[in-house]
């Protein structure tokens, strides 16, 4: 299994990985200009075919693959091949980067200035198995390399290039969303610093896909530069890892499957922000306030944020992972022998599942090396005490949670030699926009209550606070997700019999597989991992095929239950909506606002206290789950896609989630 190679590095408590180097430190003590114009001579790929960014374009346009697709499209559409070729050339023009070292130097200069004001530290992991940059340098020299950072902020890719420049490593080309291109000047600047732009959706557009995939593959085969993209596809607005999108991963693996390169190395990179620049922006976006269109002037206005303190950033470069070794015995490359390699083909099932599996593993590697701040623990506790709690109690619980988190392998950045009260108070200070302390009680800020506000506005303000706070709690979910699902399963299962608990566990995993990083097909392994962690922490015992909660485990289990409470409730509200409110002609587009106003009604009526259900992210995930489980289906009527509800199935899923119906029955009802 691929997991053996990846998991063998997992137990984070065992390895020393908390040595970080602050790359801003040197910048604070030396000339920024000198830094920007210093000699930059990175090690390049040994098989490099030297070519300019412009030559790349003609290589792509003249490739057999593209010529084949152009002819195909021409035959289907009746347009002349020349016209299609022209179209392809336009697409490529819009897409292609124009990496220029001078622009990179410009960014090196300006970003240094910005970073120094915004952040206290930018920390990069120092040592593990030898230095990460020596490993990366070697990987870049030997094989095409794909950099896979986590994606939480616009900053991510500038930051990545900045760090690689700092360490004299080859600068990557980066797959970026088209939305950046809207920003005229900045868009071009980003292009010249190595970004290439892809449209957000081009589902059926064969030509677009061909140009795009050939462009990426050409750069990979020639070793033009490391390729960087975000497995999560887009910035996670919730700070929870998003389930990986496998399209681009498929593209970068194909040259290996087809023997065009000997190997490709994937480098998982975790970027953790103590405070995200887009923090409150995200919460509003999730609540349905449309995000401001990216524009240069908008960015300039954002200069306001320059006056704030965003704490520190931790960047962790993981070990390069060889696709060749991952794919051994999993993908039979001979399958690619029977069709010319330039003819695009859908990946086989075997390949598809390998790529999916790899994508999940990489995201888990990213998660495992996310650096967590004390505030993350505090946010988790605060969210379970929305009415607020005593500072001393918060401190006490935070320390307790710290122990639990560490025993589950969390990568915590808890300051050494600092009294815990100080740690807590400085965290509160950094996040004073979210939390306030008055009279020894700590509670979430509920927006400015001045003036007359409608109940809806008050609710909205409160929701912003809760969702912002949740984005911190979400950062630790990957540590607890398996034990937490087990805790819920133990709670919901009709008995403590291990197989019944497992049934329940497996149901929850299925239900939440769009919400959390749970690799499909790993349920048994996940269950065992969850049991192991809870047994290790002394929270449960396994006695003759029974899973029994110990006395001292009660508090742990109740915390873990609390951690998932809002998700359980949120999904139930969505189910409830479908059963009670949804009309037959509900379209996909109407769904989000409709379910939101349904939830608002429930909250205002005092029947619901869960604000997180207002998050469009959760609403989308819940719908995806219902679609996946067949309780809701899409029906295409004319141009519109409407949602058809199987009320019986939705109802039984709702009851199973609420623990009112044993798992088995829910499955039967669906059938």
């Amino acid at each position: 299994m691929a997991s053996t190679t990846l998991y063998s590095q997992r137990d984070p408590m065992l390895k020393k990985r908390d040595d970080f180097e602050d790359i801003l430190e040197e910048r604070r003590n030396s000339s920024d200009l000198k830094y920007a114009v210093r000699c930059y001579a990175p090690v390049l790929y040994k098989g490099l075919t030297p070519c300019k960014a412009n030559m790349l374009k003609s290589m792509v346009l003249q490739s057999d693959h593209l010529r084949y697709v152009i002819n195909q499209v021409s035959q289907e559409s009746g347009e002349a091949p020349d016209i299609i070729h022209e179209e392809a050339s336009v697409i490529l023009e819009e897409m292609a980067h124009r990496l220029k070292i001078s622009t990179v130097r410009f960014f090196a200069f300006t970003l240094t200035k910005a970073f120094k004001t915004l952040f206290q530290h930018i920390c990069v992991n120092e040592e593990e198995y030898g230095s990460w940059y020596i490993n990366l340098q070697q990987a870049i020299q030997e094989h095409p390399v794909v950099l896979l950072p986590s994606h939480r902020s616009y900053m991510d890719f500038l930051l990545m290039s900045y760090i690689l420049y700092t360490y004299d490593l080859a600068l990557p080309v980066i797959a970026a969303g088209m939305d950046f291109m809207g920003m005229k000047f900045i868009g071009e600047m980003l292009r010249m610093s190595g970004a290439f732009f892809i449209r957000r959706s081009f589902g059926g557009d064969k030509l677009y896909w061909a140009v795009f995939s050939e462009y990426v593959k050409t750069m990979l085969r020639n070793g033009f530069a490391p390729i960087e993209f975000f497995l999560e596809g887009t910035r996670s607005r919730t700070c929870k890892s998003l389930t990986p999108k496998i399209g681009l991963l498929n593209i970068v693996m194909e040259p290996f499957f087809k023997g065009e390169v000997f190997d490709v190395h994937l480098v998982p990179i975790s970027i953790s922000y103590e405070r995200i620049l887009e923090e409150s922006l995200y919460a509003r976006e999730l609540l349905g306030v449309p995000k401001p269109k990216e524009s240069t002037s908008g960015l300039l206005k954002a200069r306001r944020i320059l006056s704030e303190n965003y704490g520190s950033i931790h960047v962790y470069f993981g070990q390069p992972v060889s696709i060749r070794s991952l794919a051994q015995d999993k993908v039979n490359r001979c399958k690619y022998n029977l069709v010319p390699r330039h003819i695009p083909r859908k990946p086989t099932k075997e390949t598809q599942s390998f790529v999916t599996d790899t994508a999940y593993r990489i995201v888990r590697l990213q998660e495992d090396s996310m650096v967590l701040k004390p505030w993350v623990l505090m946010a988790s506790i605060l969210l379970q005490n929305l009415e607020g709690l005593e500072l001393s109690l918060l401190t006490e619980q935070t320390l307790w949670l710290r122990g639990l988190a560490q025993s589950c392998g969390a990568f915590l950045d808890w300051p050494d030699h600092t009294p815990s009260a100080k740690v807590v108070s400085s965290s509160l200070a950094l996040h004073r926009g979210l939390v306030c302390v008055s009279g020894g009680r700590v509670s979430l800020v509920l927006g400015e209550p001045q003036g007359l506000v409608t109940p809806e506005e008050a609710l909205f303000n409160r929701a912003v606070s809760v969702l912002s706070c949740a984005s911190y709690r979400n950062q630790i979910l990957h540590v607890f997700i398996r034990p937490a699902i087990l805790a819920v399963a133990i709670h919901n299962a009709a008995s403590s019999k291990k197989d019944e608990v497992f049934n329940c566990f497996s149901f929850l995993c299925k239900m939440f597989s769009d919400e959390f990083i749970l690799c499909p097909g790993d349920t048994v392994q996940d269950f065992e991992e969850a049991c192991y962690l809870l047994v290790k922490s002394g929270s449960v015992q396994t006695l003759q095929q029974n899973i029994v909660v110990t006395d001292r485990g009660q508090s742990t289990l109740s915390f873990l239950n609390g951690l998932l409470e809002s998700f359980l409730q949120g999904y139930q509200v969505v189910c409830q909506y479908f059963c009670e409110e949804a009309c037959d002609s509900l379209t996909e587009k109407q769904y989000i606002p409709a379910v939101r106003s349904f939830a608002v009604k429930l909250i205002l009526a005092g029947n619901l206290r869960c604000y997180e259900v207002l998050s469009s992210d959760m609403q989308k995930n819940a719908l995806a789950a219902l679609l996946r489980l067949g309780a809701v289906s899409k029906v295409k009527v004319a141009d519109q896609v409407t949602l058809k509800v199987n009320k019986l199935a939705v109802n039984s899923l709702e009851d199973t989630l609420g623990g009112r119906l044993p798992t088995q029955k829910a499955v039967l009802a669906r059938l």
Binding site: G259, F262, C334, Y336, P340
Partner: protein, 581 residues
Amino acid sequence: MSATVHCFPRQEIMKWNGWGYSDSKFLFNKKGQAEFTGKRYRLSGMILPSLQDWFENTFGASVKQHKSPPSLNAGALPPANLNEAFLQDLTATGIPFSHEADDRVFRAHGHCLHEIFALREGRGFQRVPDMVTWPNCHNDVVKIVELACKHNVCVIPYGGGTSVTGALECPPEEMRCIVSLDTSQMNRILWIDEKNLVARIEAGIIGQDLERLLNEGGYCTGHEPDSMEFSSLGGWVATRASGMKKNVYGNIEDLVVHIKVVTPRGVMEKSCQGPRMSTGPDVHHFILGSEGTLGVVTEVTMKIRPIPEYRKYGSVVFPNFEAGVACLREVAKQRCAPASIRLMDNEQFQFGHALKPQVSSIFTSFVEGLKKFYITKFKGFDPHQLCVATLLFEGDRERVLQHEKQVYDIAAKFGGLAAGEDNGQRGYILTFVIAYLRDLGLDYYVVAESFETSVPWDRVLDLCRNVKERIIRECKERGVQFQPLTSCRVTQTYDAGACVYFYFAFNYRGLADPVHTYEQVEHAARDEILANGGSLSHHHGVGKLRKEWMKESISDVGLGMLRSVKEYVDPDNIFGNRNLL
């Protein structure tokens, strides 16, 4: 009962534990200079001044660390497991046979690394033939096979003994008496039909004898596999052999018009010698490549051609391997390949230089120096990138010259520079002596082997690169202490692809079981070949070495077809060498 002991000359003049003639071998003399002994080859008796440096630098070996092989220890041989009844009946036929130790060991192996290594280490084999018999003609073979069926003994046909697939190894689990059926006495040309340009030939004839005999009458077959000094016609048929000049004359399957084969079910042959037939699947193709599992090929009708009037060698230097492959592809596309065209990679080019004999004339070396200057400095070729194609043209003089121009014009389009006849000719002379080099390597702790594949044109470069890289990687992972030598050459061109030959060698000092390590690496290399769209074999065959991939290669159903033929033709597994299936 006494066995009739026969001594046949071949065995006397050939090595029992290495390649080729006993009198011909490479060695480092007392001065540390390499020389090639004997008188048989163009290189014989010459000093090769650069070989030592190349050898020591490439392998990290030292000519001071010599390893002398032990002599044959007949006592270590498993005792002959004779079938008395069979022996009695065989004696009655008067067909000669023997169960002398050296006769048996000589026919117990081919030339795989593990076989030669075992012989040199004095370890021998778990199982060897229990006796050897020398039929003199087709009817003798019929008699032997009948007796074998009657007494249930196992028969393994033996031709030239040049197999490199473990095909001649006796299955250790074989409990019956194993008879090695040596075809070497069936070596006559029975008739020549000049009207149809075919000849009837006994299958035991050795390639060089066949060519020599035909040449006397002004003819040739044009079939020249690298092993032609020692391999036999029957062996070619049984392994689907390929000759260097197949572009003009064809591979063995193109050359054969009629085959007579003795099987346990009886004799199979076609009733006429028509040049092509539509009579269902061609039964010849059950025999071509059957690797001795179905019967013994006794007589073959083969196409012959008048000896070409004119022959010319040539060579082209390319700036790199990619350009060379592109040129060969174009030559194949225009269907104007010379009788032979081979492209060596840079490693082989370097190696070729190491085999340059001492030059006495200062003038020659001056010219050489000038050439090198012209190519590397003036033309800007990187000596560590450039590679060479060797060419051989045959036909009438005018056409050859025309043809030559066409090929050189194509080469020029790919940056190729004509590099003279001598370089080309040397390449082909070396073909026959290269096989002797492995024994030299083994004398100094270096193991070496070659393997081949065929692959579509568009995958040639990727396959070469990936296989070489895989070998290097596997060697490292398996604890080989020294950088291995990996090298390849494109040896044949076809309309739809090419044949690629790999050479692979490493210094095995520090390894507990070098042969095992070697086999693991070769196994990985074969996996890599298959994953890159290469075939299991172009002409060496499957034997026992590559059996495990057969199912993957030809599918379950395909394998089932071959099995059912075997079951019908040889239900008692008389031809029990267990190759192929």
